[in-house]
């Protein structure tokens, strides 16, 4: 058996595990230092987390659509979260917090960067491994530990924290401020702290690998745009995650060791005077969003790379404006650090600073718009092959535009005063960093599945999955914006208490139905994934007739000569060439 076969088929792994020594198996597939195994471990972690996070969103949708209905069978599953069959508001808020945290950290930060990045960065660079394989393994296990700690918050006495994934103190700093704000909140801070550490270590690996392990001929200007995405994201992570780590540490000290970084003097919570003080709740917001805004870019930048990569392959055309795309990615990564204040226009921050943040926020729209034009430019004059990865890539462009344009309203200070903390914001970020990024993850999965597992995913199931999901997400998130225009605040457990919200209830019912259908459609994806592992059509080395190094048919980390690169990454439809694609390794 060749090394390649052993490492590319998980079911051969399992067979081997049983046949061979278990210890050997654990060394190779559990505590693995192989970037491909680690990439897959990250992928399955993200997939699990995505299913959990989606299930939580459905629980939230139940209460929003039918706030007075009783769900006794759910009470048997979550005895602490329900009373007489009615969902408690604190359970709803715990789901809000956990859904946000799981999706942002465990899914969107993990799948595009850590999962696909680990698997494909070394291969696409022609490197044999990440520079620090042991560090890579540690990063994964820290991430898994972070997920386990986060989930354990659900099982504490008070339940999971209810402060939202933004975790604003003093609500999050004082245990008596609400159910779940006791040990649940401590576990949240520990979990996110561990995650920061893992991401920080991972980013060092990505940066050093990109800078030092490119094979002969692989100049920076010949790197696929995916590599540019992963590299830029790693640079952003390197600077952003330590700040969140420190913020979590300080808040943990506030909560448990009598410190007062974020607690002002004179707090009275639940009729009790809180000793100490002198801290600033706004300090947390500055630290959090100094991380939190770059965070949304470190979700979307690797996805942008994937979309360009997939789009060139199926358009059979070079990427339109490769250099502009690189400049735009780097510009977005850099500008992403200068606009965190747009989350804080109405926070009590000096409104003059808001003016600067507002202008910079609209400026970052320019490289994002340029990327959109260049994706359209890539399609212009193309000969598009409509395979499932391409459908998701095109769907991404649509969602990216739809989610992006509303940023023009939210980025303006005066309009943000209207829309801040309403469903308009929720709709905006779910489209642009939620489902747009998820479409990128799907495009990547359908695209690279043949490389990873040697088989193609089923096209009929893939296309059904695409149609239902594409229409479904619009049916969910366009109404979110309408709720926002009508003034509906986010994170409300129901609409029963306000006259201006009551007429909006039918929209909640519609959204909930769309959400159930759309989440159910994801089971098609799961089924397709499992089915294709065994029964998928066998893919050759280069099923999509693509150009980059992952399709040369050589495993990257086997002994032997590394590939030599002679061409740019996207040489499609070159006039006069025999084929309509030229691989990077072709002389």
């Amino acid at each position: 058996m060749t090394i390649k076969a052993q490492t590319t088929k998980p079911f051969t792994f399992i067979a081997n595990c049983i046949a061979n020594r278990i210890a050997n198996c654990i060394g190779r597939y559990v505590f693995s230092r192989d970037h491909r195994i680690i990439g897959l471990q990250y992928f399955f972690l993200a997939l699990t987390a995505a299913l959990v996070g989606s299930a939580m969103s459905l629980l939230m949708r139940l209460r929003l659509a039918w706030p007075r209905s009783r769900w006794p069978w759910l009470e048997t599953i979550f005895p602490g979260g329900f009373q007489d069959g009615l969902m408690k508001p604190e359970f709803y808020l715990a789901m809000v917090t956990m859904h946000g945290t799981i999706m942002i950290f465990m899914v969107l930060s993990v799948a595009p960067q850590s999962a696909f990045g680990n698997y494909f960065l070394p291969i696409q660079l022609g490197a044999r491994e990440m520079v620090f394989p042991r560090l890579n393994m540690i990063s994964f296990w820290l991430t898994l530990a972070s997920f386990v700690v986060l989930m354990s918050a659900l099982f504490t006495a008070g339940g999971a924290p209810i402060g939202g994934w933004t975790f604003y103190p003093p609500l999050s700093a004082v245990a008596s401020a609400g159910p779940g704000q006791d040990s649940g909140a401590d576990l949240w801070l520990i979990s996110v702290g561990i995650f920061c550490l893992a991401s920080f270590l991972g980013s060092i690996n990505f940066i050093v690998t990109t800078l030092t392990r490119r094979t002969k001929g692989m100049s920076l200007a010949r790197m696929p745009l995916t590599c540019w995405g992963w590299f830029t994201t790693a640079c952003v992570s390197l600077l952003a995650f330590p700040v969140l780590f420190i913020a979590c540490l300080l808040l943990f000290l506030d909560r448990n060791y009598g410190m007062s970084f974020f607690k002002p003097a004179g707090l009275v919570v639940s009729e009790r005077f809180i000793e100490g003080g002198g801290g600033s709740p706004l300090l947390w917001q500055h630290l959090f969003w100094f991380f939190g805004h770059p965070e949304v870019y470190l979700v979307i930048i690797p996805v942008m790379g994937v979309i360009s990569h997939v789009m060139a392959t199926f358009a059979r055309k070079p990427v339109f404006g490769y250099r502009t795309m690189v400049v735009a990615i780097v510009a977005i990564g850099a500008l992403g650090f200068l606009i965190w204040g747009h989350h804080m226009f109405v926070s009590g921050m000096n409104p003059r600073i808001g003016v600067a943040f507002s202008v910079l926020t609209l400026v970052i729209g320019v490289p994002s718009a340029v990327k959109t034009f260049n994706w359209l430019g890539t399609l212009w004059g193309a000969r598009i092959r409509y395979a499932t990865p391409m459908l998701f890539a095109i769907g991404f462009v649509s969602l990216f535009v739809s989610g992006g344009v509303t940023g023009l309203a939210l980025g303006q200070t005066a309009l943000d005063m209207v829309f801040h903390d309403t469903y308009f914001v929720t709709g905006h970020f779910h489209l642009i960093m939620g489902v747009a990024a998820v479409f990128g993850i799907f495009a990547a999965t359908y695209y690279w599945f043949p490389k990873i597992f040697g088989r193609k995913m089923n096209e009929a199931m893939g296309k059904t999955h695409f149609w239902l999901t594409f229409v479904g997400v619009y049916a969910i998130f366009v109404p979110f914006h309408l709720l926002g225009v009508a003034g509906h605040p986010r994170r409300y457990a129901d609409t029963l208490w306000f006259e201006f919200l009551k007429p909006l209830e039918p929209l909640h019912v519609l959204i909930t139905i769309a959400a159930f259908v759309t989440v159910a459609a994801q089971l098609i994806f799961v089924a397709n994934f499992l089915w294709s592992l065994w029964k998928g059509a066998r893919a050759g080395d280069n099923p999509w007739e693509a150009t980059t190094l992952e399709w040369t048919g050589e495993a990257s980390n086997v002994a032997g000569l590394p590939p030599v690169v002679y061409r740019g990454p996207y040489e499609y439809s070159t006039p006069g060439a025999a084929k309509d694609y030229s691989m990077q390794t072709e002389m």
Partner: protein, 272 residues
């Protein structure tokens, strides 16, 4: 696959644009002096958004429809067009920056005039104190001065403790506090500037009145000033827009905009 996809893309664009153009989904009624300017800015922004959204989806649908693979045909080898890229970037850049700058005018009028301008000299001053899960409003009374407060005197539940039992921790030793009026409804005279000072007892709340187009966090440890002028009499809902705990969704109060005469009468009846 190309045609159904193009049709879906166009349909989504038409339906979405249609929903936003449909009068049913408008901003709530507006009753403040500054809201017309905000609504106007939103309208302009919505038009820019609508044009960008529609044109991009039209182009995406067109490319999807038109450029499907055909037997043996090769795609264009074009790898970019600097002139097109620069022109498009310049157009979007100018549009976005123009929006950012025009959007600041309303903001400046509302927020950058922290020291009360002339019109605010005769403003009604009200202190807003947020707490889990209620709004309190304090008027300075006849002397025009707010009494000193001390968080240690906060006392909602048991009125037997504390030097002078009172809802907002008003210090009884300060004569300025004797005539302070504390209510749970914000009563305001129509067409007169109202200057609010926002405070919070416990966690961050957000003073949100959809009809006023006004939203501002109330942060413990900070005093944040905002001002507005209500232009129509009536009763409007005040909500909390910053997650503040398990009953966040129930944190409701009312803004009662009265005629000047009714307001004076109310003040007399409630003042001491």
């Amino acid at each position: 696959m190309s045609r159904p996809l193009a049709i879906i893309i166009w349909s989504i664009a038409i339906i979405t644009a249609g929903l936003f153009a449909w009068p049913k989904w408008r901003l709530p009624e507006s009753v403040s002096a500054h809201s017309a300017a905000i609504d106007h800015q939103f309208k302009i922004t919505l038009i820019v958004i609508g044009v960008g959204f529609t044109l991009t989806h039209a182009a995406l649908g067109y490319a999807v429809w038109r450029y499907r693979a055909k037997n043996g045909e090769r795609a264009s080898n074009s790898s970019g067009n600097a002139r097109v890229e620069i022109i498009l970037a310049a157009i979007t850049g100018l549009t976005f920056i123009a929006l950012a700058i025009t959007g600041q005018r309303v903001w400046a009028r509302l927020q950058l005039n922290q020291a009360p301008p002339i019109s605010l000299v005769d403003a009604v001053r009200v202190e807003v104190v947020a707490q889990q899960f209620a709004w309190n409003f304090r008027y300075p009374g006849a002397d025009g001065k707010f009494g000193r407060t001390d968080p240690r005197l906060y006392n909602d539940a048991d009125n037997s403790i504390g030097a002078r039992p009172g809802p907002l921790g008003i210090d009884s030793t300060d004569p300025a506090g004797k005539d302070d009026v504390v209510t749970t409804t914000l009563v305001a005279p129509v067409n007169r500037p109202i200057s609010l000072t926002l405070r919070s007892k416990d966690v961050i709340h957000d003073f949100y009145v959809p009809a006023l187009r006004l939203k501002q966090d109330a942060v413990p440890g900070m005093k944040i000033n905002i001002h507005f002028t209500a232009t129509r009499e009536g009763r409007y809902e005040i909500a909390c827009a910053e997650l503040c705990g398990k009953f966040h969704h129930q944190m409701r109060a009312y803004l009662d905009v009265k005629s000047p005469r009714d307001y004076e009468e109310w003040l007399k009846k409630n003042g001491k």
